[in-house]
Symmetry: C2
Subunit: 467 residues, 2 copies
């Protein structure tokens, strides 16, 4: 019954600390169905709790004792208590999005109890516009961020009339959720264990680097257009952090972003990055902390299985990363967009020339954020390898529903770490682009202002592109 | 700066577990002042957070490392974050007392993060009757229950017009709060360290008992009217527990209880115990788990300093305990009240004959619940020494206010432990008696029904006494 934690899961469990909790999250916004009665939210909540049979993924927790030889193993929770994991909360008045983001920031700040199954789910009511929200929290030792997002989405359907849909933790649910559960169960194991294990050794011995990664890093020292950049400036984003989280989120119509991409001859992803660039520039100027040199973002990008070679066995896609110069040193929005566009293009070309092993080593960095600080000397002496991570994950194109409630927003929450105080993750969904910013509230004061700056930047880009 | 934890605090810290978290709590209900505007609650919350200087008690947390020689010491939190400790929540609709008790049960179920200062304070809005609630949570390693309650009350005033009163965690507050803070700082140290230390040894060596306690226990084996009883029956209250908490609370007019006491020639405390007796009898009958023999309650009682001898140096009162036969085996309410009355009278007489050391040893039991299971073999083989603890703590007689809001209810939450799944604590306040029941939700299903039974029992006692 008891299976040992694989090295990746173990790494996340051991790395978890008050300052750097290792859980991911998701905030989803829903519109109640037109026929919703007064007790709709309460009924939905009751239904989510009334699950007789819980899926194994949601029942296991890490455990070690003399009997396990001091090793961490997964064991089933004998005292599993659905009331602990599935919670019903409400917002203080006036119930604006501001109050919602404050609550979610707080929920995302607290460490998970590792003696319990590593997930929590909170249904939130009290938004004054009548929408309801769900905040899901899962430890990275349990699933990776991609699997967590898939699990959240597996409960959704395109059928607004479908009811009695089971929550993600129900055992023997419909095929889609079952598949997402299975994938999540093995998601961390699928990370090449040898690479992850090598990467973990680093934290014990910061002097060494996996050979493949070292090769890539060395190349980047000689070649500015390498996908790995060692030319990022010092910035306030790259400091030791505290355990206080701030989450900020907002959506923009995809059509506006597409318009800019079309008129400027760039890609949608370029526009997302340019919005971030301009917004970060304004924010850092406000904080009197804008570096002279451009900020560099690490941008994970999907690689076709064929191209990456390594992932073809599972038929899935591998993930590589490109280091993108955001052009935050440039005052002109159009120039920033152009800089992002060129940097992205060069990075992708370089990535295409990398060997599968090199790409795998790079993935390991993303998969093992716990070791990033020592690995890349973030927060320490010298300059960081990059300043922040900006991910853009494609989501469903058409509206999805959960028991009649239409999902109208879907914002991932990620893990800030020492030396990497801000993470921006975007998801496209049903005609809009949802931005989620997770950061350390004390390292980055008033980071929610970046939302306003993102909005201004999109307008500036539209004007520059002549939309 | 770093002071070691005294043995009592250390005991509570080490005993803390998922199943038996070692924190106490308090739920207070407030009525807004007549002139409260729309933003009254939000303003109150902002004011409670805007405290520049935090009192030492609320800034320290336990810490150990190689540098401290592996010993736990109190250190000041370098990263103290008021937003973590002071929280603003709201109730889901319909915002009845039921929703409030559900939220408080959940908040009381979760373990505290011992890497942070050991307190949390939640302002709760959304009661449909417009009242606001506050739930305070403090670890027993930081303060004992009495000091926690004093801290909560130290912020109150009898002046409904007083505003800008500081919260309990403000440094240099008015004299009353400062004194309560100081007392709380040393409250655990004042417990006779040698007794507590001896008691703690028990958990390592269940075969031994402190000599003074052993003497008392031995006496009780020979003497039914000893304040220590070893004649309690097995019951569902006396099992190993889980980490799921249910809190239930309700108030009754003091005048009704006083009427019964007056007409029946008993005391107010007797009536409280008789209400508990009848309610427990009905509850256990519903659960088909009523023991044939009467349940025995451990009832802490205050002793005059002179009588107890030991506490006279501090000028305070010592606490002793009486074992009260509740008469749950009797079908007649009047007979139960009489049984409680006689048992209480006998117990007090016996207590008066005890030596200060014996009383101190008994107090140590109450102060160190962590060791009770092994000490008294609760939950193990054999019968428990008693079935539950019922405390009746006198509170203020006149209405008290916090920044204009009138406190209308004050319910302590305590610590259920293995073998002792239910605790009942009553406080008198401004003309009513507030009952607070803290229990393990899974050991005692639907324990909130005891509230209904308490209400029926009071009516039955009134009829029996001819009120």
């Amino acid at each position: 019954m008891a299976t040992p934690l694989d090295p990746t899961a173990l790494g996340f469990l051991l790395a978890d600390s008050r300052r750097v909790p290792m859980h991911v999250g998701g905030l989803q916004l829903y519109k109640k169905p037109p026929d919703a009665g007064r007790s709709y939210t309460r009924d939905l909540f009751d239904q989510m709790r009334e699950v007789d049979d819980i899926a194994p993924l949601f029942k296991k927790h890490p455990y070690r004792s003399v009997k396990t030889g001091g090793q961490y193993v997964w064991v089933e929770d004998d005292d599993f208590d659905i009331e602990y994991h599935v919670r019903h909360s409400a917002l203080p008045k006036p119930g604006r999005v501001r109050e919602l983001l404050e609550l979610v920031s707080r929920l995302h700040s607290t460490r998970m109890a590792t003696e319990r199954p590593l997930w929590e789910w909170t249904l939130i009511e009290g938004l004054r516009d009548g929408r309801i929200a769900m905040y899901a929290k899962m430890h990275h030792a349990l699933v990776d961020g991609v699997s967590a997002n898939r699990l959240l989405q597996s409960i959704l359907t395109t059928d607004p009339d479908a009811r009695d849909l089971p929550p993600p933790w129900a055992a023997r649910p419909r095929a889609r959720t079952a598949r997402a559960q299975e994938e999540a169960e093995s998601s961390l194991e699928q990370v090449s264990v040898s690479i992850a294990a090598k990467a973990l050794e680093i934290s014990a011995d910061a002097a060494g680097l996996p050979k493949a990664l070292w090769t890539t890093l060395s190349r980047s020292l000689r070649n500015e257009t390498s996908p790995l950049s060692l030319y990022a400036p010092k910035s306030i984003l790259n400091q030791p952090i505290t355990g206080s989280r701030r989450f900020a989120a907002q959506s923009w119509p995809m059509e506006r972003l597409r318009g800019v991409a079309r008129e400027s001859g760039t890609t949608l992803n370029d526009v997302v990055l340019a919005m971030c660039s301009g917004a970060l520039r304004t924010y850092l100027e406000e904080q009197a902390a804008l570096p002279q040199q451009t900020l560099v973002a690490m941008v994970p990008i999907g690689l076709k299985a064929k191209q990456s070679g390594s992932a073809s066995a599972e038929g899935g896609n591998a993930v590589g990363s490109v280091m993108v110069k955001l052009g935050t040193d440039l005052a002109d929005p159009a120039a920033r967009l152009q800089s992002v566009h060129e940097s992205m293009r060069d990075g992708k070309r370089a990535l295409a020339q990398m060997t599968p092993l090199q790409i795998q080593a790079m993935s390991a960095i993303g998969q093992v954020p716990a070791v990033l600080p020592s690995m890349l000397k973030l927060g320490g002496v010298g300059r960081p390898a990059y300043n922040l991570v900006i991910s853009n994950v494609p989501g469903p194109r058409v509206p999805h529903f959960f028991n009649g409630a239409e999902m109208v927003g879907n914002y991932p929450l990620s893990i800030p770490i020492d030396g990497m105080a801000l993470n921006i993750t975007c998801t496209s969904y049903a005609g809009h682009m949802d931005f989620g910013l997770t950061g350390c509230r004390r390292t980055l004061p008033s980071l929610q202002r970046i939302l306003t700056h993102l909005d201004h930047e999109l307008t500036a880009l539209e004007q520059a592109a002549g939309v």
